[in-house]
């Protein structure tokens, strides 16, 4: 009895140590840790916006012309906009929108792009060729231009902006996964599981996909920043979220008319975008370094 407890308890220590090793490696780069910190702050801001924001009501339809265009002060840390709304509160609520946009877009892009890449890479054949040629067509057009075209064709709402960006984004995942699958499917463990009677679906999704996760996760992290940037860009052009939504891009568009005198109305939402994108980029780079080391070690071990 005691022996079993020891035997089953010990490997948990192994896995614990594994995580500590990953964390140690990640910690080696100050920039990665800074990125993680920024992202944590961003996520916390989004989650706790209603509790933390000094003026939660300012996120929606609210007008207080007596306090319009006030510079940063003790009352309004980041100043107020042309309707007298507290910019700090609106930026906190904007984090919710940007985070939602990033998550929804990437869920769709990954959900569509990854299975298509798996099928094209593992099944191949005529279907695979079609998938990859269509992907190439999408990749030939810059995502922002494609997203602009789609939102211009649809009604300009936040939801449509998400659909448009996701529409432009999935082919990058198909490409990435396709390349991964082409090298992974030649690995012996794939043939070994065929030799044990595994079906094609099982091999594609249970044997190959789990081995392709690390580059996918790195790309998702790096893409979060770019997707948020693209979403803000669409909103800035009036093709995404509409006023009075506290979307960062919309806020810049609204504050832009008062530049340079009322510098705070456009600058602080812009800084928020900058910080979020920077955070995801630093985090993504850090994760890539950690995974690369793991892959190298695995290769060296064999």
């Amino acid at each position: 009895m005691a022996e079993i407890t020891i035997a089953s308890g010990e490997p948990r220590v192994t896995r614990d140590r594994e995580w500590r090793k990953v964390w140690f490696r990640f910690r080696q780069s100050t920039l990665s840790v800074l990125g993680l910190g920024l992202i944590l702050a961003f996520v916390l801001a989004a989650a706790l916006a209603p509790l933390v924001a000094p003026y939660p009501r300012h996120a929606g339809v609210f007008v207080d012309f007596d306090h319009a265009l006030q510079p940063p002060s003790g009352r309004n840390w980041l100043g107020t906009d042309d309707a007298g709304r507290d910019i700090f509160s609106r930026i906190l609520f904007g984090a919710r929108i940007s985070l939602t946009l990033g998550v929804v877009v990437l869920l769709i892009a990954v959900g569509l792009g990854v299975p298509l890449g798996l099928i094209a890479g593992y099944w191949g054949g005529r279907a695979g060729d079609w998938i990859m040629r269509i992907t190439d067509v999408f990749l030939a057009v810059p995502p922002i231009a494609l997203a602009l075209a789609v939102t211009a064709a649809l009604r300009p709402t936040l939801t449509n902006a998400m659909i448009a960006i996701a529409f432009a984004w999935w082919p990058w995942y198909t490409r990435l996964v396709y390349g991964q699958v082409l090298s992974l499917k030649e690995q012996q463990f794939v043939e070994a599981s065929r030799g044990l009677g595994a079906s094609r679906w099982r091999i594609a999704f249970r044997e190959i996909l789990p081995n392709a996760w690390s580059p996918i996760i790195v790309k998702i992290t790096l893409d979060m920043g770019f997707v948020i940037l693209t979403g803000a860009g669409l909103s800035f052009l009036g093709l995404g979220a509409q006023p009075p939504t506290p979307e960062w891009g919309t806020m810049i568009a609204e504050g832009r008319t008062y530049l340079p005198g009322v510098w705070w109305a456009a600058t602080f939402p812009g800084l928020a975008i900058f910080v979020a994108v920077l955070g995801f980029n630093l985090l993504g780079d850090g994760l890539r370094d950690v995974f690369d080391v793991e892959i190298e070690q695995w290769r060296a071990a064999n």
Binding site: F189, A192, G195, L196, R206
Partner: protein, 345 residues
């Protein structure tokens, strides 16, 4: 054809029972850029229940292709020109893909050669065992029941069977955390999990230390004997064949050169190629053997008759004119060479 009569040591005792696996006049060619390569040419091979057979030959002689043909895992550019593969009375070459998939793992299982790469690096040993046990068992095993319970016990039982010292510990480790020998044992456990009748061991243990290889081979030999399994060992190493097999098929250039019970083969080799193969085995005493001159034949433009003729020290005029047929030279010994009268017909 004469192949029906090929019997092994234990096969002879079994009398007229049909063999578990019968490969008859199998011919496979590959479509390559350079042309069509006739890689496997009229290969006959039988394995009886409980018999261990070794298929021996140089790298590139078609051993692995033969094994892959049995499992239905040939690459896309391979074409089976003619022949039959019968397993337990079923014609494997004309089976629908799903049926063949059900046979793989459950009836015929392959043990792969390179323990470093044949296990999926991102799953623990236990997860891989459970996964295979689950998909080979019932159509769908409930996820919750997989962790503990009967499936888990069966997997641990298998690890114990292949003599992994700490099954519980190995169960929770990743393949990289195990030594090469342990990983090879896990691969054997994976192959045994489905309860197959026939194991195909492709260059088993070649990637391992010689001492560990011998240990694992001996353990596997005892294991298959006690369980009455049939095994097809694919190896280039005659020492391995001697250790584990009841009967040896020597393959050269995609053809069977000689078939003999293991003991008889080592006592005396009939085919010049077998003689050369044995002479090439390094020994602790005496000089290193001469080996065999030349290289394996070009499969696109093979020698016209006997494929071994260009390298053969006993080459005769007939060897370039007529293909030698596999014929019984001694009781239970078959050879395809014009030095023996039966082959020239």
């Amino acid at each position: 054809m004469e192949s029906r009569e090929l019997t092994g040591t234990r096969g002879a005792e079994a009398g007229t029972a049909p063999p578990l696996l019968a490969v008859e006049q199998l011919a496979i060619r590959f479509h390559l850029y350079e042309g069509r390569a006739q890689v496997i040419n009229a290969v006959d091979l039988t394995i009886r229940r409980g018999e261990s057979v070794a298929l021996v030959g140089e790298t590139g002689c078609g051993k692995s292709i033969t094994a892959k043909a049995i499992l239905g895992l040939l690459p896309a550019n391979a074409e089976i020109v003619s022949g039959r593969i019968t397993f337990a009375g079923r014609d494997l070459l004309h089976l629908p893909a799903e049926e063949l998939q059900r046979i793989r793992g459950r009836k015929i299982a392959m043990i792969f050669q390179d323990p470093g790469t044949a296990l999926n690096p991102v799953f623990t040993v236990g997860d891989q065992l459970l996964d295979v046990a689950a998909w080979q068992g019932a159509r769908r095993a409930p996820l919750l029941r997989r962790r503990d319970g009967a499936l888990r016990q069966r997997c641990l039982e298998m690890l114990r069977l292949v003599r992994i010292p700490d099954p519980e510990g190995a169960f929770r480790r990743y393949p990289v955390e195990l030594s090469g020998g342990m990983r090879q044992r896990v691969l054997i456990a994976l192959a045994l999990l489905g309860g197959p009748d026939l194991l195909i061991a492709d260059e088993l243990g070649t990637a391992l230390d010689v001492s560990i290889q011998d240990q694992i081979l001996e353990e596997l030999r005892d294991l298959v004997h006690t369980r009455g399994l049939s095994v097809l060992y694919i190896t280039h190493n005659l020492g391995v064949a001697r250790l584990v097999s009841d009967r040896i098929y020597v393959m050269y250039g995609g053809e069977i050169a000689e078939v003999a019970p293991t003991g008889a083969m080592f006592a005396r080799q009939l085919h010049p190629y077998s003689q050369g193969l044995l002479a090439a085995v390094p020994r602790l005493t005496g000089a290193i053997g001469d080996g065999i001159e030349g290289r394996i034949p070009d499969y696109i433009n093979p020698p016209p008759a006997c494929r071994f003729a260009p390298r053969c020290p006993f080459r005769m005029e007939i060897c370039d004119r007529q293909r030698p047929l596999l014929a019984e030279a001694d009781p239970r010994r078959w050879v395809a060479c014009h030095l023996y009268p039966g082959s020239t017909r």
